[in-house]
């Protein structure tokens, strides 16, 4: 009896917390499916729409270039992930495996960047980006590069990859060198395939971070055609001032891609095996 009560209350609490976690979305979905004849401010609030319609979705889809925002987000997130993988792996390798003058300085300089929040240096980062002409007023390509570069590498990624290289037995390298590999070949052909699990973790967490990034794009972007999804979604508020049916439908639409990504990759997020992937 005691065990039953324990289990019951455990499930009860977990169900309540789960509901609280998704309720804001449920309510948004509910609103997005309500037709014009239904009062969305009605008391008592109706979770199940009485005047069910998809019209808000088609309406917002025709007025907002979601495909464009999605493509922009893909370019930025894809570029950010690719650069993070390459740069973090390249920097992590010598820090794990080589002896050289200035290693300590390199190590602690990279560590120091963990302590510098982007939010505190965003103004000069913007000035640097302007100076390098990496803004969308120059060209779309420049705009994308400007969106990507400040996040092209992070200390988090470098240390993650360094840990991965530390875990590879030294005999691997010796064997490859004796077989006549150069350092460059050794790195790309022997070592990189061995750190794939860490690269996957880095890719997934960088992708999520880049996909949701809002502050930087809202600082640098000037053209609507360059908007990423978060900036575009925020813009819905101004476009449809108080048309909450449209705002709700647009917000839900914008969430679908990342939701699919999350469900496909969920084991990476919730297994708890990626303790090293804790981001500060």
């Amino acid at each position: 009896m005691k065990r039953f009560l324990e289990k019951f209350s455990t499930h009860f609490i977990l169900i309540m917390v789960s509901l609280l976690s998704i309720f804001p979305f449920i309510w948004l979905i509910s609103t997005s499916l309500k037709g014009n004849s239904e009062n969305i401010f009605a008391y008592p609030p109706a979770i199940i729409p009485k005047d069910f319609t998809w019209a808000n979705y088609t309406g917002v889809w025709h007025r907002v270039d979601f495909i464009g925002y999605f493509v922009n987000s893909m370019i930025v997130a894809g570029g950010t992930v690719l650069l993070n993988l390459i740069l973090s792996a390249m920097a992590g390798y010598p820090l794990a495996r080589m002896e050289f003058k200035g290693k300590k300085i390199a190590f602690f300089s990279i560590l120091a960047t963990i302590m510098i929040p982007f939010q505190a240096i965003m103004l000069p980062v913007y000035l640097v980006t302007l100076k390098l002409h990496l803004v969308d007023s120059v060209s779309n390509t420049a705009g994308f590069i400007g969106l990507i570069m400040p996040f092209a590498v992070s200390a988090f990624g470098i240390f993650l990859m360094r840990q991965a290289f530390l875990g590879i037995p030294k005999e691997m390298e010796e064997a490859a060198i004796i077989d006549g590999c150069s350092v460059w070949q050794l790195f790309w052909k022997v070592l990189i395939p061995m750190v794939k699990p860490s690269l996957a973790v880095l890719a997934i967490f960088t992708f999520i971070g880049s996909w949701g990034e809002f502050l930087w794009p809202s600082i640098v972007l000037t053209k609507e055609s360059m908007y990423t999804l978060p900036v575009g979604v925020n813009n819905l508020q101004g476009m449809f001032s108080s048309n909450w049916r449209f705002i709700a439908a647009g917000s839900i639409l914008s969430t679908i891609p990342i939701l699919i990504f999350f469900l496909a990759m969920q084991r990476y997020f919730i297994s708890g095996e990626n303790e090293g992937a804790v981001k500060g």
Binding site: I86, A106, I116, L123, P230, V233, Q237, G280
Partner: protein, 290 residues
């Protein structure tokens, strides 16, 4: 082991990442400090070197104290809740029960959804005639101006930050809980210890380092909140929900008061660096050992 690489190899490997960090971290870092000694408020093209005047102005400005106070309120409220509540949830999930994966997915969902969408969803819950005020009315109370009443706005925004963080810290705790030896729990069960004693005597002492880590991580991220405020309140009403990053953004990019904004950024830097140092030297030492 024999040295198989050339003298320059390590530097060449480090070069690309080093360049990016130099241009987008170190130069901006020093420039932030440098800019804070200039006054841009009279002319954006001809700034005047003013020494510490921006800092003097900052520390005499009531708005700055308000903003700083708001940021620390954010910290004092969000951090303890984010350090304790996800641990409680993780302990509940870390049992042999059905539906664990589903619970984890649902509770983690807010973490992956864009903060902009989350803020919009909450703005809708907080609407004047919205669903939250309906619940308030059920209890016979007057409707609350969640985002329009200066006494409430900051707390309403903090709730969003907490709601979005629970799943993230829960997963960190779950990983830590796996390392607690099962035998200790079995011993507790034999002794007939109840839920509370079991976790107070076994779990908490074992995962103390993780609790400390979560505390500093959540403190650092509480110092950096921006999107929630930008989307929901723009810092208003009457600066009541304005925190330091939002104020820097407003000063730098809306008022173009670069010097003043930079002085504030230096204050933010100092606070975050203090937290990070605690984090690096006390809790993540093994991760960052040369």
């Amino acid at each position: 082991m024999f040295k198989y690489y050339g003298k320059w190899a390590p530097y060449l490997f480090l070069l690309p990442a080093g360049l990016v960090l130099l241009v987008f971290f170190f130069i901006p870092f020093f420039q932030t400090v440098y800019l804070s000694f200039f006054d841009y408020s009279s002319s954006i093209y001809h700034p005047a070197a003013v020494g510490l005047a921006n800092y003097v102005k900052l520390f005499h400005s009531p708005v700055f104290y308000k903003v700083l106070w708001n940021t620390f309120l954010y910290l004092f409220i969000a951090v303890p809740i984010l350090a304790i509540f996800p641990l409680f949830i993780a302990i509940l999930i870390n049992q042999k029960i059905r539906g664990v994966t589903l619970y984890k997915i649902l509770i983690y969902l807010p973490v992956i959804v864009s903060i902009v969408v989350a803020a919009i969803a909450f703005k809708w819950l907080y609407a004047d005639q919205g669903i939250l005020n309906y619940i308030v009315a059920l209890f016979g109370m007057k409707p609350v101006g969640w985002l329009t009443d200066p006494d409430w706005a900051l707390y309403s925004v903090i709730i969003v930050t907490i709601w979005k963080g629970i799943g993230y810290y829960m997963i960190i705790y779950l990983a830590a809980l796996m390392s607690v030896p099962k035998e200790l729990y079995e011993a507790c069960d034999i002794d007939g210890a109840n839920f509370l004693t079991k976790h107070l005597t076994v779990t908490i002492p074992h995962i103390m380092p993780t609790i400390a880590l979560v505390t500093t991580i959540s403190a650092i991220s509480a110092m950096k909140v921006f999107a929630e405020i930008y989307v929901m309140t723009k810092g208003g009403p009457l600066n009541s929900s304005k925190t330091i990053v939002y104020y820097i953004y407003e000063r730098a990019f809306e008022n173009l008061d670069l010097g003043y904004a930079s002085a504030m950024a230096v204050v933010l830097l100092a606070i975050v660096m203090a937290f990070s140092l605690i984090n690096i030297f006390c809790f993540e030492r093994n991760k960052y050992q040369l």
